[in-house]
Symmetry: D3
Subunit: 114 residues, 6 copies
């Protein structure tokens, strides 16, 4: 795994632990809810991760995009499918999405090399 | 078809025509691009409409949500699947999405009665 | 109670019921979480409603603003305090907040007449 | 003047007066600042209104868009120039801007008939 | 004071000075307005800083969040109260707020160690 | 040219190439559309770049702001005019724009030294 990816994962994990350790009931429930939202239900996990990715793209959150790119890759989303998701995000969200698209493609390239 | 839905469709069509009649090259190309974005490619049209719906939800645009709810229904998206999309939109976008979710569910109920 | 306010409350209640009746576990949990978020904890309910109001203002959601204006009024927030919250929302969010501020003040005036 | 436009202007004026009557110092200063922002300086008023319009478009605020369309028209912005502004707003902000574009063009058509 | 915090403060101060040195009347007035918005009035400074923090959280601006976390700490906001503000921001703004929450908690931990 | 600017331009170019190399028809058309949007038409290129800059400011995208600051500079936008654009962005978008304004002014200062 690349150093940048490893740092991203480690920081994410460390801070999630610190947040949950506070034991704020509603915050901890939100985190649990967030995890379960992407589990298979009436839609499979793969489709749900794609939904999470396009939502993150149009809201332009790099960390959220990175997370869902990783999850989509795990669920077997193909490169050509990623670009379809990117296209929807780009057309709905406009050129303001492009800088995030550049970083998403860079990460995807990196994941494909692993 | 309900009166409200008919008005929505008529206004949309009338104004799109007026915009395109201006023959601004880039605007017309954007509209063409927007249409083709939801056509089947590496992902099928059904999945792409679901992506369009969740993107519209988190960006909180009622007209865009209504359009994609209608298109998803045409593509055979089931009620239980709609609620999965709504859930992703709600968790990613937060409680600020709820007023739009109410109107989306109202429209879905209306479409199911047709 | 004014007719407009009554309609707002009735629609809200009717659609919330319809959404919850679907029994989508995560959506229902989100609604429960949303309610509990404004209950007294380390901060009292009054302060939390003020936080909800300013968050709704800068995100420019009329329904959410209306809801929190009503809740703040119930918690005894004074008119001069409302304008302090409006000021923070206006300065943080910019002139784009003004149309929502107009409607918030209209509602506040209406609530004060009740 | 059309009835819809007249209502828009009357509501705007009435509520601005009510807000300013509260005499909240910072809010009143913000309103003064907002007005002066579009007065001629290093850039002329016409260009500044065009900037205000495109900013309102990408932030998707119908009332702000309507206000700046009216102001741009007063400053002599031509129909072909409006569509250039709309194009920038559409490409930067994405298809989510389209519903607002429809209403902007409808208003522009209305203003041109006066 | 930690190096990261010191850099944040130094950059902020240096650039504010450069901006104000331009002597653009409205920009300078906006900066003055921004400062006075958080001074005690009908609401005390502590509450106003909490409002500024939650507004920054839902608008997902790391620099603004950092600034208001620092100000809230100065005003004596307790750790348990911070998590209440974070909770409102998270529920209103959704999971898209989480990456900013991680950085806010990291900064809070850092401030508490000083 | 400064190192930071050179890196920004090199990364932008490299990733744009990689995105276009995928040959996703709609994405490539969007990129072409984006470029042509700022070419002279009913409005000159200089005005269009100013529109692009203010749109990027209120949407708070640093990369987009940097790009349009560079383009505006090339089109001969004067320092005093830049501050007029910054003022519109600040008043429309609010104090949340300030961190981006700091970085925009830093870049402008850097470009003026070249």
């Amino acid at each position: 795994m690349s150093e940048r990816l490893e740092q991203f994962r480690a920081y994410r994990e460390k801070m999630n632990e610190r947040i949950l350790a506070e034991k704020h009931q509603q915050i901890n429930r939100f985190f649990a809810l967030d995890t379960r939202t992407y589990e298979a239900g009436a839609l499979d996990a793969r489709t749900k991760e794609m939904l999470g990715l396009v939502a993150s793209l149009v809201l332009r959150c790099d960390d959220c995009i990175a997370y869902h790119v990783i999850q989509c890759k795990r669920e077997g989303v193909e490169r050509s499918e990623f670009f379809e998701i990117f296209n929807v995000g780009l057309v709905v969200g406009g050129s303001i999405v492009i800088p995030h698209l550049r970083r998403a493609v860079e990460l995807l390239d990196e994941l494909e090399k692993e």
